[in-house]
Symmetry: C2
């Protein structure tokens, strides 16, 4: 299976090696670098990218078969987007703890069962960001605790609605579309998840 490994040793003809790194910019949110890299042919080039702490996305499954999604205005793309709940990792935070925290803060839901499906990389050409993909079930709703300055709607949608919105171009967020690939294949039985009971249903609060 060497041909599909993400490890470096198998592909010396593709590898780039960092030679030096300079900080381009430290904003309140964006932290950017420009690295000089040695290319496979020995020449050098530069790579500019954003350093990101990583994030977690949650696919919350309701008992009635629907899923919990959000509607949020995203300023960079100047659109109201339909998305699964997600958020950045706090320093030192475990991914499951982040998933439980973001689900609760943004939607008010607490789940008794959690499972990690996988990971996605949203923007491999200019960010270090990864998004860990988690599914949650056994949901009960409480009062959410949005961050100051955070405005988003929470609603339940059927899988069929989400697929229609995707096909028709109303749902275009790549992390959410990736989650729908997982959801479709889990629903059909092609892919499976190994659910874990988290014990205290209040643990995620």
């Amino acid at each position: 299976m060497k041909h599909m490994s993400s490890l470096t040793p198998g592909y010396p003809h593709l590898m780039e090696e960092g030679v030096s790194s300079e900080e381009l910019f430290q904003g309140r949110f964006l932290h950017a670098f420009r690295d000089t890299v040695k290319l496979p042919d020995g020449s050098t080039s530069t790579r500019e990218y954003v350093v990101h702490p990583g994030a977690v996305m949650v696919v919350p499954l309701l008992d009635d078969g629907r899923v919990v999604v959000e509607r949020q205005y995203r300023y960079p793309v100047r659109r109201v987007m339909i998305e699964f709940p997600a958020g950045k990792l706090d320093p030192g935070e475990e991914v499951l703890a982040c998933a439980q925290r973001e689900l609760f803060e943004e939607t008010g839901y607490v789940a008794t069962e959690w499972v990690r499906a996988g990971v996605l990389h949203p923007v491999i050409s200019y960010s270090t960001e990864f998004i860990d993909i988690w599914f949650a079930r056994g949901l009960t709703q409480h009062e959410r605790k949005l961050d100051a300055g955070e405005f988003l709607d929470v609603f339940a949608a059927t899988f069929e609605e989400l697929m229609t919105w995707s096909r028709e171009g109303h749902l275009t967020d790549a992390k959410t579309l990736t989650a729908l690939l997982w959801l479709q294949n889990i629903r059909s039985g092609a892919w499976s998840l190994d659910w874990q009971v988290t014990g205290d249903p209040e643990a995620g609060r």
Copy 2:
């Protein structure tokens, strides 16, 4: 269908309005801004984001049922990634022309039929980037013309291989996973495409 519109008027309680904009950084590739925005409750906040020209991704369908993919080292995530061919729009370039150019330059393939499936937004929290999703068929292979400093492998994979790599975590690029959602639903007949013959098969060169 107002509840899923991406237009602004329906959601005044979610909208953010730009008040001012300052350039944070102009690199060779990254171009970043910090805008001050008025939130729905009248308070203000800031949004930092990268301005991107937009990009096109191509799903190249071979006559034998396989698809053409690439293996490329992506420095920001320090991994060799499996991806569909893609690239940024040149200034003033039409998306189909960009799709044809990128497919040819990166893989050497020229296609006789093209169709636009949709669009995805890879990183709605801090980039303006969109990626237009195109499918191509009627492929013939020629000699590719990689940009200087570009190193990537081109190979053919079955749909089943790509799905296995996705499930097992060897394929984690969000644009490619989104394309697989499209491919899966087109293959099953749930979603359809309206193919256009481009005429001269050399037109994409």
